[in-house]
Symmetry: C2
Subunit: 259 residues, 2 copies
């Protein structure tokens, strides 16, 4: 299995603190050492850093830990290979273009014997079940809305339906974003925390490191952090329920819209 880390904010924020603890799980505090990756949206633009090396040994991960990139939508992943060899093309997150926007996807879980038919639009480059599932999701969205991105209210049930179909095959926790909306699906393990004023100090589980967000933020900032398991030991994380597809925007879960 792998581990997921996501961030969605109302103002561009760096993820250095969370990534510090998260990337330690790539071979130091945990055994997810078959590669890693992180995607940052900046407006419609998107940059992805990937490496097939364990995140604790990767010079690129060192760089990302130290260089604050400010983004409103971040998706990170550390890999423990189940399907597909250890190779760059099998590292998450994956990216494709749909409706003139980049879509980015990372998966934690395993879809055994998943062999979808060849899609019309999207084909996997690597050999993971995850990339194939991502292609099927985008294909479904594209064919359902050929004219362009619909409202979230129309998109949500279609995404929910294809997610349910895939989650019936195996464990399917995922993070998915187009830089506008941030979708999270929990199959087994996914939790989140929303940090907003009044801000306090947070202490990492995987490193003895504390940050006082009060010193780094303004009162209107709001940041949601989503992770396979909580990253801090002095804050209350909310588990996303198994089977739940939760959408974040501007650092807030949009629970009220869909329940």
């Amino acid at each position: 299995m792998c581990q997921l880390l996501g961030m969605n904010c109302n103002v561009p924020t760096d993820i250095c603190f969370s990534f510090e603890g998260f990337s330690a799980r790539g071979g130091k505090t945990d055994h997810h050492s078959d590669g890693w990756g992180i995607a940052f949206f900046e407006g419609k633009g998107c940059r992805i850093f990937l490496d097939a090396k364990p995140s604790i040994d990767s010079p690129i991960a060192d760089f990302v830990r130290c260089y604050p990139i400010h983004s409103t939508h971040v998706i990170a992943h550390i890999r423990k290979a189940t399907q597909g060899e250890v190779a760059l093309e099998n590292c998450h997150p994956f990216r494709r273009e749909l409706w003139g926007r980049y879509w980015v996807f990372a998966h934690n879980g395993n879809l055994p014997d998943f062999q979808p038919p060849i899609q019309s639009f999207y084909q996997a480059v690597g050999h993971t079940d995850s990339e194939k599932a991502f292609c099927l999701i985008l294909e479904t969205l594209r064919q359902s809305f050929p004219e362009g991105k619909p409202s979230l209210e129309k998109l949500y049930p279609v995404l929910q339906q294809v997610t349910k179909t895939l989650a019936a095959i195996g464990v399917f926790n995922y993070l998915l974003s187009d830089g506008e909306h941030f979708f999270t699906h929990c199959s087994t393990n996914l939790s989140y925390i929303v940090r907003q004023a009044p801000f306090a100090a947070a202490h990492l589980i995987d490193q003895d490191m504390t940050v006082d967000f009060n010193e780094l933020t303004t009162p209107s900032d709001r940041v949601a952090v989503i992770a396979t398991t909580p990253l801090t030991d002095n804050e209350v994380w909310t588990p996303i329920q198994p089977g739940e597809l939760l959408v974040f925007q501007d650092g807030l879960p949009l629970r009220h819209i869909f329940n």
Copy 2:
């Protein structure tokens, strides 16, 4: 206008020396300071580093200059904005998936008033003529060969035709690769050099820096470097002819096949 740098080799090679001189043109020895990017293929996998900052001020460019990434197909670009604001989504190289492979593209030139109709498969995310031209090229290849990547002999004339159509609109120097073949089109300025045994020392134009490739290579290595203008002052670079679409594979131009 912008500047292009490409590398195609028979064994994975790092581009640190060439990128050192090339990236100096992003605001130091030349005025291409509206962003930069570089793509590295590693097998079917591909990683891209992008920044909207000038390459001489970019911590990510610093990292790429110092960290040797070994690749057989590299495409780099420094940008002087003509169409599209200075923003991450307008930085080259661009990437899309076609036939289960990543395709990467960078353009030097300008296609004035280029407004292609909306494509079925590929849409631009940013606002450059370059990304629109890339989408049109991939759309044309995809519709011509819906079953998958054809032989180079079949692909070449289709690519040549769509390239001609685009080059009739304006200046259209480009580098394009899927990690297997490396296509270069010269509209006005593009030169290359093939380095192979016996290797010698090379001295950069843009920095006082010399590398003796004899110390870094094995006798069977072969590396083609392609650039808008020559990067070294003690080697003989071959200009690609205006109107020529030249394909490289394993560090060699495949002139004999298509002439």
